[in-house]
């Protein structure tokens, strides 16, 4: 019987052949980053979009961050904490992944994160997944990684997954979401994999 992750994963990615191809792509990519569009099946992704409206706890320290943090929803946990998800990530990065730590953050107008002296700059494998109902680049909100060979800029896009091998010293921020976003919001499901 297929797991929650395998039942949710878009069929186009769900084969050993594709796992191998993604692993080769990841290995060859200088930035050690993989981006997968339409990551989940349409109905699985649709089920997650209700999180865009759910109550969440505001987190703000003005010189470091402003966003809303959500509890780990069962649907999120079933996908991104599933052993088959860890196997998938391990197949791409080329080593065994034992566990992951997940956070779910919602960003809307006036939210951001900033670079800070206390940032975690240790190397490691990270992933993130965007949930939104369309997003325009003019709104801000891009997740930016600095300190690698070149900046990696990831604009929020619906149902889009990134897997990244962070090098030593690489730091990240989420650009301020400006007034052009109106009432639009996006969610980042993110985690460290060990």
């Amino acid at each position: 019987m297929a797991s929650d992750f395998l039942e949710s994963l878009n069929d186009r990615y769900a084969s050993e052949k594709m796992y191998k191809e993604m692993g080769e792509h990841f290995k060859a990519n200088k930035e050690k980053a993989l981006k997968l569009n339409e990551f989940l099946k349409e109905d699985s992704y649709g089920g997650l979009k209700e999180l865009l409206e759910r109550d969440a706890e505001k987190k703000k320290i003005a010189n470091r961050f402003s966003f809303e943090e959500m509890g780990i929803d069962k649907k999120i946990e079933c996908i991104f904490a599933d052993l088959d998800f860890l196997d998938f990530a391990g197949a791409v990065v080329g080593r065994k992944i034992k566990k992951g730590e997940i956070k779910v953050k919602r960003f809307k107008h006036r939210d951001y994160t900033l670079l800070h002296d206390s940032d975690d700059v240790k190397p490691g494998i990270v992933f993130f997944f965007f949930i939104c109902s369309g997003w325009n680049g003019e709104y801000g909100g891009e997740k930016v990684y600095l300190g690698g060979k070149q900046p990696l800029i990831c604009m929020p896009e619906p149902n889009t997954f990134y897997l990244l091998k962070k090098q030593e010293g690489v730091r990240e921020f989420v650009r301020y979401v400006n007034n052009l976003a109106g009432k639009n919001a996006f969610i980042i499901v993110e985690g460290k994999l060990e």
Binding site: I61, N63, R110, Y112, L115, G140, N178, N179
Partner: protein, 205 residues
């Protein structure tokens, strides 16, 4: 340099300086003063016109997004150079020094023009760098609540910024200055709409 050629005479009187010194020391969340109608009207208008003729460069980082001139002390514009000379003078250092209660070195300053347009912002920081003692801003635009662009001051909570305590909307020819410390948390709120927020500012050392 005669300060009264630039600054309204009323601000240069000893009693007014004493009052401003008291206000500077009492204002919270950290020491500051906002002086409205600071320069003589015609000087402020000349300065506005001159600043709008300067070249602005787009500046972007995690912390900010706005337009900034190069160092205005290198400007080719006679009005801006004269204004710069006034700020660099011993008389100006003494005038501000009396208000803030510390000795300021004549000529020790940075001077830049800034322009914030729709969606531009400067997020929370303390300005503390090198030997900056006083941050100053001369506003050359009027903005109100619906336009955004307020300068906000935040409290300090165990070494981190806390709540917004004061919000100042730019007023044409308003002069703001505040003490730079590890607790001088402030930000420029996002400009919303078509108003352009022009200012000249920098730090006194």
């Amino acid at each position: 340099m005669e300060l009264k050629e630039w600054i309204k005479v009323a601000w240069l009187e000893e009693k007014t300086i004493e009052d401003m010194n008291e206000e500077f020391n009492q204002n919270r969340p950290f020491k500051h003063v906002f002086i409205t109608e600071f320069l003589k009207k015609e000087k402020a208008e000349e300065l506005e016109k001159a600043l709008k003729g300067e070249i602005f460069e787009r500046k972007e980082s995690d912390l900010f997004r706005f337009n900034q001139t190069y160092d205005l002390q290198d400007s080719d514009n006679a009005v801006i150079l004269e204004f710069s000379e006034m700020l660099e003078s011993k008389e100006f250092a003494d005038f501000i020094g009396k208000i803030v209660g510390i000795d300021l070195g004549a000529g020790a300053l940075d001077l830049f023009g800034s322009l914030y347009e729709n969606t531009d912002y400067l997020l929370c920081h303390d300005d503390l760098l090198e030997d900056r003692k006083i941050a100053y801003l001369l506003y050359l635009s009027d903005l109100e609540e619906k336009d955004g662009g307020a300068l906000t001051f935040l409290s300090d909570k165990n070494g981190e910024p806390g709540e917004v305590i004061k919000r100042y909307f730019p007023r044409f020819n308003g002069f703001m200055f505040f003490a730079v410390t590890s607790k001088s948390w402030h930000e420029v709120e996002e400009v919303i709409g078509n108003k352009k927020r022009y200012a000249i500012g920098g730090w006194l050392h």
